[in-house]
Assembly symmetry: C2
Homo-oligomer: 358 residues x 2
Amino acid sequence: MNQQRLNRVIDKMKMEGFEELIISAPNAIYYLLDEMFSPGERLLTLYVNTSGVHKLLINALFPNAKGLDTEVIFYNDKEDPVQILSDMMTLKGKVGIDKEWPSHFLIRLMEKQNQMKIGVGSICVDYPRMLKDADEIKKMRHASQINDTVMSHVAELLGDNQLSEKELQKKIPELFEQYETFEVSFTPSVSYGDHTAIPHHESDQTKSVGPEALLIDMGGRTNGYCSDMTRSFYRGEPSEKYREVYNIVLKANLAGIAAVKPGVSVKTVDAAARKVIEEAGYGDYFTHRTGHGIGIEVHEFPDVSSASEMILEPGMTFSVEPGIYLPDEFGVRIEDIVLVTEAGCEVLNQYPKELKSF
Amino acid sequence: MNQQRLNRVIDKMKMEGFEELIISAPNAIYYLLDEMFSPGERLLTLYVNTSGVHKLLINALFPNAKGLDTEVIFYNDKEDPVQILSDMMTLKGKVGIDKEWPSHFLIRLMEKQNQMKIGVGSICVDYPRMLKDADEIKKMRHASQINDTVMSHVAELLGDNQLSEKELQKKIPELFEQYETFEVSFTPSVSYGDHTAIPHHESDQTKSVGPEALLIDMGGRTNGYCSDMTRSFYRGEPSEKYREVYNIVLKANLAGIAAVKPGVSVKTVDAAARKVIEEAGYGDYFTHRTGHGIGIEVHEFPDVSSASEMILEPGMTFSVEPGIYLPDEFGVRIEDIVLVTEAGCEVLNQYPKELKSF
């Protein structure tokens, strides 16, 4: 158990008025126990109460829980883990429930404890996770450095122009594996031509013929922490319009990053990037939020959007990724991961951002 | 909307005492609407009540819902979909909740409707899904035929003996793609040597040196329906002990299949396979249930275990997969998919089961 992180979870429980907390998300448990479990459909719960009592309840099929320096309660397939959980609860106050806990567990727990007061309790872990500690910052930096290296390889492959979107998409996880990164943060996005104008385009058999826009959005999970970066390229001589849009997006990306410092709100960052695009007349074509928190998961609390009043603090890591998408023409997005520091901001990935064409 | 399937869902709702049903699992919605949605963290609900009213509530980011012959209610990121859902409910009786619905939706719905009576309602879809109709049976047959073909390719690759467990594991989805099967039912299991004794072994960099046991467990999802088959092979001349164990497992597999016919209980099938292994003295080494339902998902209702009183009916499809696992030595499992017919049983996959060595 990482006692420092647990203390921060308990502090947040007190602030939010929760007496007990049911943590079931494997990534949240990983944050506290430094061990990843994939329980499938079986119940997995880290139980925490504000007195500091904490117990892991897990099926006996996962013997890797044996080495933990935490009380572990194993159950087998013939036992009812919801009853075991119910028996360990104090019910002295409100119980925080993990936002992702499958409803059938909650319904059965409520049947056993019909006076139980509940609320969604995930913020008690999501909030501490938002503020990365020294060990996490080191891992976040390392993950982004590897993403830089893999992006160079991807750019070489784009230059060779042998691979379809789908083929390059499948190649990327293999490139990450060469750098001790055995998981991608998400299925890499590889788009050619007018597909770049569709932010969630599914890579297909399309080959690149050019002249046309190219877009790569990718990240890996290294030592448990995620990277995420988007770069936009061009095959052939970029058109005037592409150059114009590229430069606006780059300016928006830099403006967003320049706004990052402790004490300002998240929505200020969104506004700084958005303003550049709006003033250039492309506001209607920047169709998504400016970014998202990142850490153990590629999408974490908080949203970097116009709706978020969250105040930036040192240790927060999130993406700044403005884009302009012109339907049936092309799209450009430039995404970096930033770390809020005492002095302002550190950009974790360093792959160049000047317009590169092949 | 597949009206016939919807009628069966409503019949089951009445039997189970549910007035309204919240269906959120994408696979359950696919069963009724023949369209797959991947909503990520956003709310997706097919609402059904026993009067036959049904509505799909989905985020506007999923425009493929527009073509459905069903009432579709789109919401955007600025609206509260739980409020919209709450407003459409009648609350005349008990509400069935999808077993996998993330708790935060349920908690917020309960906050809005604090008199609501709820229960886990998934059986209302899981039960109809268990009994495949003619169209589904055709697709299940086709998926298993493709699995047979891919297994022949895998056996050739095992014969060539170039690939590590991990390399062969990664090759299998590519083989399926040649047969219009763009998704595997689950990550294929490829085990060499004493790894075959670990039912959930994670394939690694191990190469096969022999003489040793080999085990392949794999399936693909073709036109929305899953196949699943295990075959055990040997590299080199099989030892006496391996031959003995192989023949016991094969006999257990055939005994399980022979027990399949309408009117008998699921646990009879489990007992028939288990008895062969127990009588041969290996009962302690058959450590799992005999099988599982299969269809749109590779693991569906019901379990084929000693605990299931479910009576077999024509249209049910499930696996029969006894195994013997001798720690640090080897394991053997032989798995087929069966369809319960009026006359008894049809085995959907046909890849040979006599002991094959390379």
